[in-house]
Amino acid sequence: MSAQPLTVRSATPPECRSCNTSVPVDEHFCPNCSRIQSLGRHGDYFAFLGLPRQLELDVQALDRRFRDLSRQFHPDFYYNATPAERLASLERSSYLNDAYRALKQPVSRIEHLLTIEGLPMGKSDEQAAKVPPGLLEEVFALNEELDEIRDLRQSGADPSTLAARLATARQPIEAKRDEHERALAEASAQWDRLAADAPADARRATLETLRQLLLERNYITNLLGTIEREAAAHG
C-alpha cells in the first residue's frame, strides 16, 4: 500500500441516502437501488474514472469514458429527481469535469498523481523564485544576455539585431526544455513499470524525480515567458 495522506476517505464506507445500503466509495450509483450517490470526500481522479494509477493513458479511451459518465451524471437528466439526487448529480458532474481536465494533459496528470501520492506541487509562484540547481548555468547566461539586450535597446540599437540575439539566447533554454520533456516521459514510464507492490522507497524515488522535473519545467516555462515579453517590448 502506498501512503495517501491527502486522499481523505471515510473509515467506513458511505451509505446510500435512499436505501441505507453501504456503497463502496468509488461506486457512482447504489448497487441496491441504483440511485446516484452524493460525492462525499473524494480525491483520486484515477479511481473516480475507473482507471489505473498510471501516467501512460489512452486519450481516446479517456474521452469515451468522460462522455459515458457525463451521460450518467449530467444535471440535464435529473431535472425531475429528488433534491438530494439533483445535488449529487451536480457534484458528481463537476467532479467528473475536473477529473477529465486534470487527466487529459500529461503535465496536469503528473501533478495530480503527485498530489494523491502525498507530494503536492504547491503554489507555483512560491517555487518560481528558486532557481533549480540543474539550470543555474543557463539562467546565469540568459540573465546576462537579457541585461545587455535591454541596455542596447535603451541606447537605440537596431531592433533586428536585438531580435536575432534574443532568438539565439532562446536556443539553450529550448534545448533544456526538450531535454526535460524526454526526462519526464522516461520517469513517467518508469512509474508505470513499477508494480503497485513495488518497494515503497522505489516508488517514492520515482515520484521525487517526477516532482523535481516538473518544478524545473515550470521554471523553464517562466524563462521562455520572460524572453517572449522581452521580444514583445521590441515591437
Binding site: D63, R64, S70, H74, P75, Y79, N80, S93, Y95, R101
Partner: protein, 618 residues
C-alpha cells in the same frame, strides 16, 4: 403541468419554439412571421406595447420606446454611458449600480423590460396552443438562450426576466451551442464545429467537438457589445455627419427614421451591389435625405467592426488547441451573418465555405426547444456540455485576482479556496468575487461581495474556512462556505454588484401582478386596433374596386358614400387614441355605414357569376 418552450431572447428580435413528436416547431403569427421585435413601448397612460406595435411607436413616440435592452442586461451605468447618447430613451441609475431605463415618469430595470417581451412570447405561444385545440395551453416553463460570452450578472438578469414574466426558467443555454443542437438534429455529424454567431448586439464564437451525440464545447469567446446594432449606428452617424449642422439636435423621431432607413439600406446591400438610403421628410429634415450607397463603401465603413470579431475567433481556436483549417464545419448564426463581408472574412479565415442552411434567425430558438425537450423527457441521445466563458476568481491581497475556476472549464464546475482570519477573535471575512481574465481585480468584472459570518472566535490564522464556488449548468455561480475545524456552515450574504437581489425580484413580481390588469387592457386595445385596421382596409379596397365605379351613383348614393368616408375618417382618428371603447364604437359605425355597400357589391358579383353561367348554358 403546462407547456414547455424554448425562447431566443434576442437584441433585435425574439422568438419562441417547441418540440412535437414530429420535431421542432417555430411559433408564427397569422402572417407567418416568427420574429417579435424586442421593442417595448409604454404610453403616457401606462399601456405597454411589445413587438411590431412598439416598433411602429419608435417612429411616433421614440422617447417612450425601448429597444436593444439586451445590451444593458446585468450591466452598470458606468458601462453604458458612451452609447446612451444615440438612444431615444433615458438611461439612468446610480453609479456602480444597475442600469435604469426611464420612460416618461416611470423607471424600469433591463430585466423588467425584457420580461415584457417574454410575457408577449408566452402569450403568443399560449394562443398557438389554444388554436391547436390543446386543453392545457398554459406555458409555464422555458429554456432561454443567452450569448455564450454573457457573464454571471448578465445570465442572472436574464433568469430574473424569465421569473418576472411568470416563467420557470428550466435552463439558460448559450446561443451558439443551442444552434449546434439544432444543426445536430438533421445531420449525424461528428467532428469539430465552429459556430460564428453575430446577432443584433452580441458576438459569440464557440468551438465544439461532436461525438456520439455529445456536444462538447471546447472553447468559447466573444464580445457582448458587438453586433448589427453597431453597423446601424455607423450608418446613422454617417447620415448625421453628412447632414452637417442640420444633423444636430434632430428630434428623436427623425433620428429613428434615419436609423430605420439605414437598416433598410444594410439589408438591401446583402443582395444588391448598391442601394439608395432614403429618409422621408421628417421634423427637422424638411427635404428628407437621399444618398446612393455602394456595397464597397458600406464594406469599407463596417470592415473594422467585422475585423473585431476575428480577435475572439483566434483566441477561441487557440484555447481549443486547433488551427482554423482543422475544423470540419463552420456554422453561421444570427441575422448579421447575412452581410456578405462577414461571410467572406469567415470563409477566408477558416478556408472553407460556412454553412447557413438552417435559417440563421430561427436556429437558436429551435435549439432552445430541443434542450427544453431533453430536460423534461429525460432522453439521453443528445447531451450538451458547455463551458464557462470567463475565469472566476477572488480578490486577494494587493488587489490581485486569484483564479479559482478557469475559463473554458466544462460546466457544471466547482472550485474551492481556503480562507482564514487576520485578527484574533475575528468572526467575519469579506470576499470579493470577480469574473475575467485580467491580473488586477480592478480590471475584472465585479460579480459580488459577500461576508462570511459566524466564524467561531479563534486566534488569528487558525480558522480554516473552505469556500466552495459552484457554477451550475446555466453558467450561474453559487457560493457556500464551511469552517473546517468546527464543521460549521457559514452564512453568506451575497450582494450582487450589477444585479437585482432576490428581494428586489420578489417586489417586482408583486408589481407585475398588479400590472397584469393593465397588460390585459393593452392586449384588448391592440386587438381592437387590429380589427379596426382590417375593417378600414376592406372598405378602402371596395371603394377602389373596378365594380364600384359603375355602381356609384346608381345603387350607392353620393350621400351614402359621404357617410362611409366620414365613418372611415372617424375610425382612423379613434385608432390613434388609446380609448378602446371609442375604437369599438367607430368600428361598428363603419360596419353599419358599409352594410348596404357590401350587399350591393355582393349581389353584383353574384349577378355577374350567374350571368356568366347563363351565357355558357346557351
Amino acid at each position: 403541468m403546462g407547456k414547455v418552450v424554448g425562447i431566443d431572447l434576442g437584441t433585435t428580435n425574439s422568438l419562441v419554439a417547441y418540440v412535437t413528436e414530429r420535431g421542432p416547431v417555430v411559433i408564427r403569427d397569422a402572417s407567418g412571421d416568427a420574429l417579435v421585435p424586442s421593442i417595448v413601448s409604454v404610453d403616457a397612460a401606462g399601456t405597454v406595447f411589445v413587438g411590431r406595435e412598439a416598433q411602429r411607436r419608435l417612429l411616433t413616440d421614440s422617447s417612450r420606446t425601448v429597444y436593444s435592452v439586451k445590451r444593458f442586461m446585468g450591466r452598470g451605468v458606468d458601462d453604458v454611458r458612451d452609447e446612451a447618447h444615440l438612444l431615444p430613451f433615458r438611461i439612468g441609475g446610480e453609479p456602480g449600480g444597475v442600469v435604469r431605463i426611464g420612460v416618461g415618469d416611470k423607471e424600469f430595470t433591463p430585466p423588467e423590460i425584457s420580461a415584457f417581451v417574454l410575457r408577449d412570447l408566452k402569450r403568443r405561444a399560449e394562443e398557438h396552443f389554444r388554436e391547436q385545440g390543446e386543453f392545457d395551453f398554459e406555458v409555464d416553463r422555458a429554456v432561454i438562450t443567452v450569448p455564450a460570452y454573457f457573464n454571471d450578472a448578465q445570465r442572472t438578469a436574464t433568469r430574473d426576466a424569465g421569473r418576472l414574466a411568470g416563467l420557470e426558467v428550466l435552463r439558460i443555454i448559450n446561443e451558439p451551442t443551442a444552434a449546434s443542437l439544432a444543426y445536430g438534429l438533421d445531420q449525424k455529424n461528428q467532428g469539430t464545429i465552429a459556430v460564428y454567431d453575430l446577432g443584433g448586439g452580441t458576438f459569440d464564437i464557440s468551438i465544439l467537438k461532436v461525438e456520439d451525440g455529445v456536444f462538447q464545447v471546447l472553447s468559447t469567446n466573444g464580445d457582448t457589445h458587438l453586433g448589427g446594432d453597431d453597423i446601424d449606428h455607423l450608418l446613422t452617424e454617417l447620415v448625421l455627419t453628412e447632414l452637417g449642422t442640420a444633423g444636430h439636435g434632430l428630434p428623436p423621431e427623425t433620428v429613428q427614421a434615419i436609423r430605420k432607413a439605414a437598416i433598410q439600406a444594410k439589408i438591401d446591400l446583402s443582395g444588391a451591389g448598391e442601394t439608395t438610403l432614403s429618409v422621408d421628410r421628417s421634423p427637422g429634415l424638411p427635404d428628407g435625405f437621399m444618398r446612393r450607397l455602394t456595397r464597397e463603401e458600406f464594406e469599407a465603413l463596417i470592415r473594422p467592426l467585422v475585423d473585431r470579431t476575428l480577435v475572439p475567433v483566434r483566441q477561441a481556436l487557440d484555447d481549443a488547441g486547433l488551427e482554423p483549417r482543422e475544423l470540419d464545419e463552420v456554422v453561421l448564426v444570427g441575422g448579421s451573418t447575412r452581410v456578405p463581408l462577414v461571410r467572406r472574412l469567415v470563409e477566408e479565415l477558416f478556408g472553407r465555405a460556412p454553412h447557413s442552411d438552417v435559417n440563421p434567425d430561427e436556429v437558436v430558438a429551435v435549439g432552445a426547444a430541443v434542450q427544453a425537450d431533453i430536460l423534461i423527457s429525460g432522453r439521453r441521445e443528445m447531451l450538451l456540455l458547455d463551458v464557462t466563458p470567463l475565469s472566476l476568481g477572488i480578490e486577494t491581497m494587493g488587489g490581485v485576482t486569484s483564479k479559482i475556476i478557469l475559463r473554458n472549464s466544462t460546466i457544471p464546475a466547482s472550485g474551492r479556496e481556503m480562507f482564514t482570519t487576520g485578527v484574533d477573535g475575528q468572526t467575519a471575512v469579506d470576499v470579493h468575487v470577480l469574473q475575467g481574465e485580467r491580473e488586477l481585480a480592478a480590471d475584472c468584472r465585479s460579480l459580488a461581495r459577500f461576508r462570511l459570518r459566524g466564524i467561531p472566535p479563534m486566534p488569528a490564522g487558525l480558522p480554516r474556512i473552505e469556500v466552495r464556488f459552484q457554477i451550475d449548468a446555466n453558467g450561474i455561480l453559487s457560493v457556500g462556505a464551511k469552517e473546517l475545524r468546527t464543521d460549521i456552515e457559514q452564512t453568506i450574504d451575497v450582494k450582487p454588484s450589477y444585479g437585482l437581489t432576490d428581494a428586489e425580484v420578489e417586489r417586482m413580481l408583486i408589481d407585475s401582478f398588479e400590472h397584469a390588469e393593465a397588460d390585459f387592457e393593452a392586449r384588448l386595445l391592440i386587438d381592437a386596433r387590429n380589427e379596426a385596421e382590417s375593417v378600414v382596409s376592406a372598405t378602402e379596397k371596395s371603394l377602389r374596386h373596378p365594380d364600384f365605379a359603375q355602381l356609384a351613383g346608381r345603387e350607392v348614393t353620393p350621400a351614402e358614400l359621404a357617410r362611409i368616408e366620414q365613418a372611415v375618417g372617424a375610425l382612423k382618428a379613434a385608432m390613434g387614441s388609446t380609448d378602446r371603447e371609442a375604437i369599438h364604437a367607430a368600428t361598428h359605425a363603419l360596419n353599419d355605414a358599409t352594410r348596404h355597400l357590401a350587399e350591393v357589391m355582393m349581389n353584383n358579383s353574384v349577378r355577374e357569376a350567374l350571368a356568366g353561367k347563363s351565357v355558357n348554358d346557351v
